[in-house]
């Protein structure tokens, strides 16, 4: 009798890896409408996830931009001399949260003021001889959230007359931004979990229909791993297939949004992240989410049918 070389080998042979990929791809069309149903579930949820991600990431970016514009203006006492200006500068510089300190002399301040007033500013030129303004430091903190705390500490310094940072506005802005971010995060996590639940349920139904087949494979001597791998590949392909339409929708939609944002809103500070690379990065994220939930749904569903 002809004897085949049956090697007992724990590592999978390369030809078997190829076989699993071939088998997984074949299952995509073998299962026809089941595939359409699963990929459809992936598509629906990924369109939602993608649109939501685009919105949240942009809102977050806008919030960050606004926060980064927040600065503290430290007005020094009118009486300070050169040496005192230096010491205050050093003291401010030593505060660890501070990221930049820029000195603005009373002459600079006046020049800025005159410039910002345009035509009317000309009358202020009278004051050039007897400048009523203060020398000032303009400060930014590493983390905009530290603004209030740092401002209060600087206010305590002797040489400082006044600290301006639009206290109420900043406080409200930060509170709003934090709330918006948290809500966004919760919504995205909720959405992804809903997606996983929906998709794994759809896939589970399609695999349930194949419970008998899995049993037959086991009776022919297939190990769990051998059965699982094509399902892994199939889930991966389902996820990738399911993310094609969402990516097309997001890329087209975002292209439209970036081109028309100025017409859509009256606020100059609303600026979307540039189409390139953001739209592509988002596409990649959608693809990855699709692939992960496809694989997850598929592998989790097949698991409970393997003990035969």
């Amino acid at each position: 009798m002809y004897v085949m070389n049956i090697e007992v080998n724990t590592a999978m042979k390369f030809r078997t890896v190829k076989r699993h990929f071939r088998e997984g791809s074949k299952n995509i069309w073998r299962n026809g409408w089941m595939t359409v149903a699963s990929a459809g579930a992936v598509t629906t949820t990924l369109v939602l996830v993608g649109a939501f991600l685009a919105l949240m990431i942009n809102l977050n970016q806008i919030a960050t931009n606004i926060e980064e514009d927040v600065e503290i203006k430290v007005l020094l006492e009118l009486t300070v001399d050169e040496a005192a200006i230096e010491t205050v500068g050093d003291k401010i510089d030593k505060i660890p949260e501070v990221s930049s300190v820029n000195f603005s002399s009373k002459e600079d301040e006046l020049a800025n003021l005159i410039e910002s007033m345009g035509e009317e500013g000309n009358s202020w030129e009278l004051f050039e001889q007897d400048n009523p303004l203060n020398d000032a430091y303009v400060i930014k903190t590493e983390d905009p959230l530290d603004t209030i705390d740092v401002a209060e500490r600087i206010e305590d310094l002797d040489e400082v007359q006044e600290v301006n940072y639009g206290k109420d506005v900043v406080q409200n802005l930060f509170r709003f931004n934090e709330l918006a971010r948290n809500i966004g995060l919760v919504l995205i996590i909720g959405l992804i979990f809903t997606a996983i639940f929906l998709i794994s349920n759809t896939i589970k139904i399609t695999i349930m229909a194949r419970q008998k087949e899995i049993g037959i494979m086991k009776l022919v001597g297939a190990t769990n791993g051998f059965i699982r791998w094509p399902f892994f590949v199939e889930g991966l392909l389902l996820g990738v297939l399911g993310s094609v339409i969402p990516i097309a929708v997001i890329v087209t939609g975002y292209h439209y949004a970036t081109n028309n944002i100025s017409a859509l809103t009256q606020f100059a500070f609303v600026e979307l992240l540039p189409f390139n690379p953001f739209a592509w990065q988002l596409s990649l994220i959608i693809l990855a989410i699709g692939a992960i939930i496809g694989v997850w749904g598929s592998v989790m569903s097949v698991r409970k049918f393997l003990k035969v």
Binding site: Y2, M4, R15, I216, K218, L219, V220, G221, A222, F226
Partner: protein, 228 residues
């Protein structure tokens, strides 16, 4: 090849299918398992390749102790045993070729050997020209031959068939028997549960009769011994 001692099987629903089976089957034997419906023939067969576990007793197959066998080792036991089911158990979405090839892919045979060997067994069971069909496109007898092809494709030491001719017309049944005899002649042990008096009485082999979960008769070159 097979050694059962004091084997009992009670299903979770309380039905006792086997009531103390003692039997030895040597390598190269051809054995009929006969008996009335519900006697425990299928249960006896399922214990051999671990589709069911015994409630009590020891079973040795190929010198492997099934009682001590871990879940992960079961697939390897099954690779040495070809099984032919009354309901064929073919994979419905795969072609005939793919169904038979599956048993070789499982043992990671090379694609070249797989192609060669699958066509060889399909030729043996007379289905070479239907390799690209799916099971639903075949008659019952043809599907049964596919099941046999899959069971023997990896040269198992043992071939088990549970009523392989149960649903087939007499001509097809005799053809199936011819294939099983050939396989046995090449050295493979064959165990076959059957209801066919004609087959048992014509092709004389060892007969094990089971009734009420017990072996009531075990004869070499035996008769069917029942009136139906």
């Amino acid at each position: 090849m097979i050694d059962m001692q004091e084997v009992y099987k009670t299903y979770p629903n309380g039905v006792t299918a086997l009531n103390g089976i003692d039997v030895k089957i040597e390598s190269g034997d051809f054995v009929y398992v006969v008996g009335p419906s519900g006697a425990g023939k299928s249960t006896f067969i399922k214990l051999i390749f671990r589709e069911e576990k015994p409630s009590k007793g020891t079973i040795l197959v190929n010198n492997k102790n099934l009682h001590k066998m871990k879940w992960k080792d079961v697939p390897f036991l099954r690779r040495d045993i070809g099984v032919v089911y009354q309901d064929f158990k073919l994979l419905p979405k795969m072609t005939i070729y793919e169904n038979v090839a599956f048993a070789l892919e499982v043992i990671e045979e090379t694609p070249k050997n797989i192609r060669k060997r699958v066509m060889e067994v399909l030729d043996l069971v007379g289905l070479k020209n239907k390799a690209r069909f799916i099971p639903d496109e075949l008659s019952g007898g043809e599907q049964q031959r596919v099941a046999i092809a899959r069971a023997i494709v990896n040269y198992p030491k043992l071939l088990i068939a549970d009523e392989p001719t149960g649903n087939l017309d007499p001509d097809t049944s005799w053809e199936i028997m011819r294939i099983l005899e050939d396989i046995n002649a090449s050295g493979t042990t064959v165990i076959m549960a059957t209801h066919s008096k004609e087959i048992v009485n014509t092709i004389k082999k060892r007969v094990i009769a089971i009734e009420g979960g017990l072996i009531v008769r075990d004869e070499h070159r035996g008769e069917y011994g029942y009136e139906i």
